[in-house]
């Protein structure tokens, strides 16, 4: 443990405008914010030459005041409601946040490395100045070698073949000018925009409400795919159907392999999604119809759906990934699909 641990400190500055116009039908606020967490407490991996080992964890992690992280952005929210006539009213509200997460200081002076997956990808993420926390830092796939000639022609500036041991169907990775494998920052789980919409209407005795949420700009690392260690492990049907063969010259899927691929952009997928979080339709029995019971004062019947539809770019079950540490966020290893719930109900008032 770090003997000099201290509390992290947060400084936040906001500027906001709230307004209400068109006879109060349109309300809204716009807020700009900057929040800096200084000396954030993070479990960081340190060189094992220091003799480190955290007996409760799975590596040489030390909890320390590791970094300062800035969240900067603009939040806009607009709400509209209107009563058309005595039977019909409706409302629409939307909010969107444009957020930029950036590491603005590393107390150790060096980037933090995290995100170990399986036997061959020990360091998928990097937390470095100027990038979002836990960014994926991986080799860049530029294509798939289609032929031996392709491999032989992929050379550095001195004419040396860059990937001599490979075969057609293997990935072609990006190299720098000196012929070294190039790793690139390939985004992070932190979304750049997230938004919510809620809307509803009342018509006579019917009511309807819908809530939508979503986020854009985040990335997900398909750790399930990356973790595969053996030829006997299950693969997604898209991998099984599309892998490179002599007759199927894919430029994005490699040939069938034993799973021990290095970390690369191949495993980085878009985290964009929109989800209908909730739909609720109800009908309130007219008061006159139930008045004579003298027991019940109100009665509403409704149908609701929780999470009925998710539109997502990610190929796994769900774009919402739990993670134990922000420095390894968005690596999907075993996420369950999100549950859809449909219900029919009655609200009774006495």
């Amino acid at each position: 443990m770090d003997q000099n641990l201290k509390w992290e400190t947060t400084t936040e500055s906001d500027i906001a405008v709230e307004f209400s116009t068109i006879h109060g039908k349109l309300t809204g606020d716009i807020e700009g914010y900057t929040k800096i967490v200084k000396d954030a407490l993070i479990n960081v991996l340190i060189p094992s030459t220091l003799g480190s080992y955290n007996p409760s964890g799975s590596g040489g992690y030390v909890l320390t005041n590791a970094a300062s992280i800035q969240n900067k952005g603009v939040e806009v929210s607009l709400n509209w409601h209107d009563q058309i006539n005595s039977h019909l009213s409706y409302f629409v509200g939307a909010n969107i946040t444009f957020n930029q997460n950036t590491v603005v200081g590393l107390n150790g002076g060096q980037p933090y490395i995290d995100g170990p997956i399986g036997a061959d990808q020990p360091d998928v993420t990097r937390t470095d100045n100027g990038h979002p926390i836990g960014s994926f830092y991986v080799q860049k796939v530029v294509g798939v070698f289609q032929s031996q000639a392709d491999i032989d022609n992929y050379k550095d500036k001195n004419g040396n073949i860059l990937e001599p041991g490979t075969e057609p169907g293997d990935f072609k990775y990006q190299y720098d000018a000196n012929g070294h494998l190039d790793s690139v920052f390939a985004g992070s789980y932190q979304p750049k925009e997230y938004f919510g919409v809620n809307m509803g209407m009342n018509y006579k005795n019917f009511d309807l409400s819908i809530v939508l949420i979503g986020s854009l700009g985040g990335k997900i690392y398909n750790g399930k795919k990356a973790f595969r260690q053996s030829l006997l492990d299950n693969v997604e049907s898209s991998t099984a159907d599309n892998y490179w063969t002599n007759s199927n010259h894919s430029n994005s899927e490699p040939r069938a392999n034993g799973g021990d691929l290095p970390a690369s952009t191949y495993f980085v997928e878009s985290g964009n999604y929109v989800r209908i979080n909730n739909v609720n339709i109800g009908y309130t029995i007219p008061a006159a119809a139930i008045e004579k019971t003298k027991v019940i004062s109100s009665l509403r019947i409704y149908i609701s759906a929780q999470n009925p539809l998710t539109l997502k770019a990610y190929s796994g079950f769900t774009p919402e990934i739990q993670s134990s540490s922000p420095t390894s966020a968005g690596i999907e290893l075993n996420a369950y699909p999100s549950v859809k719930t449909y219900s029919i109900g009655v609200n009774v008032g006495f």
């Binding site: 003799g51 040489g60 980037p111």
Partner: protein
Amino acid sequence: MNKKIIYGSILMATLLSVACQKNFLNVQTTTPTPSNDPTVAMDLVSGVYSSLIYVDPGGGWNYDTHGISFVAATDIMSDDADKGSYLADQPGVLDLDNFTETAGNSFVAALWNGYYVGIGRVNNALAALAVAKLDTATANRLIAEVRFIRGYYYFNLVRFFGGVPIVITVPNGPKAANSNASYVTRASVTEVYNNVIIPDMQFAMNELPPKAGTSTGRINRGIAEGMLAKVYLYLQNWQMAFSLTQDIINSGQYSLVPDYSTIWRQAGDNNAESIFEIETGGFGGTDAGIPLYSEFQGPRNAGGGWNNPTFPDATGDLGWGFCTPSTSLISAYDSGDLREAASIIFVNPSFAAPTGDTLWDGFVIPKRSSVQALYYNYKAYHSEKLETFYGNRDRKEKNIHLFRFAEVLLINAEAANELGQASTATTDLNQVRTRAGLPNTTAVSQSDIRTAIWNERRVELALEHDRFFDLVRTGRAAQAMTAAGKNFAAGKNELLPIPSVQIALSGGKLTQNPGY
């Protein structure tokens, strides 16, 4: 209600003030520190010993000194054994077997982590011993014991990785590498030998009592002297290798046991031939062996037939079937060599035979169709019936025999031969051959004797984690690996890659080995 609270508060305040006057809340607690309690230092020494048989508390294989990563990077990587199991099982180990491993290989990382965490334990123990109130003799003995282990770990590191960072002090906190680059900068191979390995082993040799005066399992003079002789063999300092081994021979503390095959049974643990052995055993009614060492290499099921009448309690096969002896090793034994059947479990190759072979304890290997491979490592076999066993196959009690008197004779022979003393060399060599049931060597010329000793080392020390290092030491690795059909790149595969994570953590100060 309010009154009760007021009265209560007065009562509490009175109690507190009374208590404070009596210093009730200020009891002096004594946290044990190395300087006020010598058991702290002694416990840290025990921690160093336990690093020889690491158990990853996270349940993974993240650090290793003598477990499966060690087996993979010594025997499986050599031409003595193949990966074993089914093809797709543990591709990271297959990569080591085929020399296609990358710097991200988790087994390689486990070795780096394991040895450096062990070295960290030594450094912490030494810091505590420096201030512990122990009598000088005890303190010096403990210092010598842990320094030997540090020297041994560096000897393994330098053979696996080449020059490595020299860490012989306790780093000052987790950011120490930022202020002191030597923690993450590689020293040269020569520096590692001259500044750590030799001084540590020499100190241990000077300070420690011989085997006869040491309780079993503790590092003694013979261990330090023998391992130092091996270090000088690697440095081709023939004179030192010769005189140290001669001193061990003359000490009368060691001899070859008559029956080679008994060495790897519990009955053979710490026998007259044993020099450096990693101790395992039952501990508090549970098994306390090196995690998976025996199970990893145990014969593996290929479908039914493992219900053994002589072992009603044993169910299923014996392990995962890794590290299967190679045909290259088998062909290295001369006919009549007693060591062949003692080192290798031969599965009856006939599919018609009703059962396979019977092991020394009566365990019957089932018929061919029930076993995955034809050959398994007998030296890793543990008898569940006749040896200590409490039921945890993951941690079977299997001592590792890291250094035996037979190797002292072979080092003595090799050094003597290089020094021009052919008759001493052949006398040593013939002692080893006689025990193996073989006639004396026919080699006469210096070069033939050298080859004969190298060949003898292979069969005498088969599957004892020496072969790969020995091939590299003698410059034969590329030729031997090519002969065994392996994809070995000379100038690259003599060393393992430095783990990529460690290079990244060093901010690039740690440099990669050539070719990776």
